[in-house]
Amino acid sequence: MSAVLPMAAVAPPTRALSMKSWFGVFAALIVVVVLAPVLNLLVPDGNVFHMSDYAVALVGKIMCYAICALAMDLIWGYTGILSLGHGVFFALGGYAMGMYLMRQIGRDGQYKSDMPDFMVFLNWKEYPWHWLVSDSFIAQMLLVVLVPGLLAFVFGFFAFRSRIKGVYFSIITQAMTFAAMLLFFRNETGFGGNNGFTDFKRILGIPVATPSMRMFLFVLTGLTLIGFYLFARWLIASKFGRVLQAIRDAEGRVMFTGYDPIRYKLTIWVISAVMCGIAGALYVPQVGIINPSEMSPAASIEMAIWAAVGGRATLIGPIVGAFFVNGAKSWFTQAFPEFWLYFLGALFIAVTLFLPQGIIGLVRRAKKETKV
């Protein structure tokens, strides 16, 4: 057969990240681990370089959202499965963390009881079964991963096996998160009803509301985001990632090539759900509240908007999108609170019409044009 000499030109690059991207990741690490703590804790208040506590809380929160957007990109951007129910995984991770934080309140609640306030209010004398391990930090951290993972596995197994696809899958995920929200709204479910959990005092015995604790959670969230980004890059650069894209483009061909799409879809679906769960667990101690509104259909749809605005199937795009949309949201809701939803809708339409590749697509196009 033919000469095999020019194969070097034919073989694709196997590296997950270019040198430039590694530099970017390194820069992000410096910002999160060194710059932000120094500017917040060491630079005195009033100095122009001081990073306010408000900014720390805001960026910390947005980084949690960015993890969700990254998870959305894996399942939607690369695999072509639009989930409109990822809020339920985020909230479940958050609730698992919240249960532990509620137990840490101890007797500092309003009723000065060992039990969380809402249970005293409901006149409950002992913990329901799902609260049995809630005083153990390690057990609850395992639940942060296991509960969203298990729900995603069971849901995904039946949905993918029944070959539910496209808009039908999106609608069912939407129904799932809505049903979960209704369930969590009920006081009898044992998750604090519509008030959810709040008024956290401590984590591992250390007060949560101190600047250093807030900064620690900020750094932890930043490292998690960077870690997940690298993990997602590695996944997508592997053959596994290419099978996912193949499923998105032509699932029938994938099947007739001998791959079982159900296993691939289920794997990435569970990975994506667990990422959201972890994001939720990081979110709750920083924001100080978790309630069923995180499971509202709108919350899940917003995640899809972050990914779309930033640029699907780029990994970095959805992170940028989460920062852009939520940054705009926090400014808008102060300046023109009643117009935020109109702006969000207009943004989504504009992106769909003019920027199918999102912000990242715009940046890439600009780069190309300046080069030529």
Partner: protein, 294 residues
């Protein structure tokens, strides 16, 4: 047989069973009188594909009506027939996409196709080319072939997969064979229609299937491309079995090379209308009637 010899035989068998884990489906010693079912393709009886009395109906319409067909190992079989004759439905049944209402479908003499799913059927060596060329549009030509390469299809194996030198060479050979060497790093969605057809054929061959099902493989190809495709298929004949569904009689003529030994099957209304050499079939009154509506 003396008792000593029997004992020795039992010992030898135990020894053998200890070393070679007995295959579950073979039934151990009980199966010694019959054929051993190993899950491997068995073409000892000459047929690689055997369809018997297959009927598929959609809302009362019989897409396949008691279709029986047998393809020999190494054979290149052309199947023709007017629109709606059931050609594509037949491929759907063989590849597990559609389950027939009644009938049997065997791959070799031991593998029951009706009990397997699409991806399992692809793994045991049946490759299928769709009527509309189906490639992974957002991946490069190289990546398309890499995914089709024979390798462990499991999830963890894919995550940690690395191309070996031999596999790289194999992809290089295939790129040369399908005339896409210069387009290796192009996105498959940018290829011409004919090139996509070639890429899809290349992907099939990467899987090294024993039986290739080709649904209108030269649709949209130029005359030159069609000729090259015919050459390619003829070079595969013998090592692989091919079933080609085609409308293009010129292409069929190239594939059969006018040899009476090469069979052409005519499907009509879900069953076999005629079977024989191209000349015989073309002279068949019933076939002429079906095609020209006389």
């Amino acid at each position: 047989m003396t008792p000593d010899l029997m004992k020795a035989g039992t010992r030898a068998l135990e020894e053998h069973e200890r070393r070679v884990a007995p295959k579950e489906s073979s039934g151990g010693r009980d199966a010694s009188y019959g054929r051993v079912v190993t899950g491997e393709l068995d073409v000892a009886h000459g047929a690689i594909l055997y369809l018997d009395d297959i009927t598929v109906s959609f809302d009362g319409f019989k897409a396949l009506n008691a279709l029986s067909l047998s393809i020999s190992a190494g054979e290149l079989r052309c199947i023709i027939g007017p629109n709606g004759a059931g050609k594509t439905t037949m491929m759907d049944v063989i590849t597990g996409k559609t389950r027939p209402d009644v009938g049997k479908a065997f791959f070799g003499s031991t593998i029951d196709l009706l009990r397997l799913r699409e991806n399992d059927i692809a793994s045991i060596g049946i490759g299928r080319k769709f009527q509309k060329p189906t490639v992974f549009e957002h991946l490069t030509v190289f990546e398309n072939l890499e995914l089709a390469l024979k390798a462990d299809r499991g999830v963890p194996a894919s995550m940690f997969f690395r191309l070996s030198g031999a596999q790289l060479d194999r992809i290089g050979e295939m790129l040369a064979l399908i005339h896409l060497k210069d387009s290796a790093q192009r996105i498959a969605g940018l290829l011409s229609h004919g090139q996509k057809q070639w890429l899809e054929i290349g992907m099939l061959l990467m899987q090294d299937p024993k039986l290739l099902l080709l649904d209108e493989p030269v649709a949209g190809m130029t005359d030159e491309e069609t000729e090259r495709t015919a050459e390619l298929f003829l070079s595969l004949e013998g090592n692989h079995s091919l079933v080609v569904v085609e409308h293009d009689m010129k292409f069929i003529g190239e594939l059969t090379q006018g040899k009476p030994s090469k069979k052409v099957t005519v499907l009509h209304e879900g069953s076999v209308l005629a079977e024989g050499s191209l000349a015989d079939v073309q002279a068949n009154d019933k076939v002429v009637e079906v095609y020209l509506g006389r």
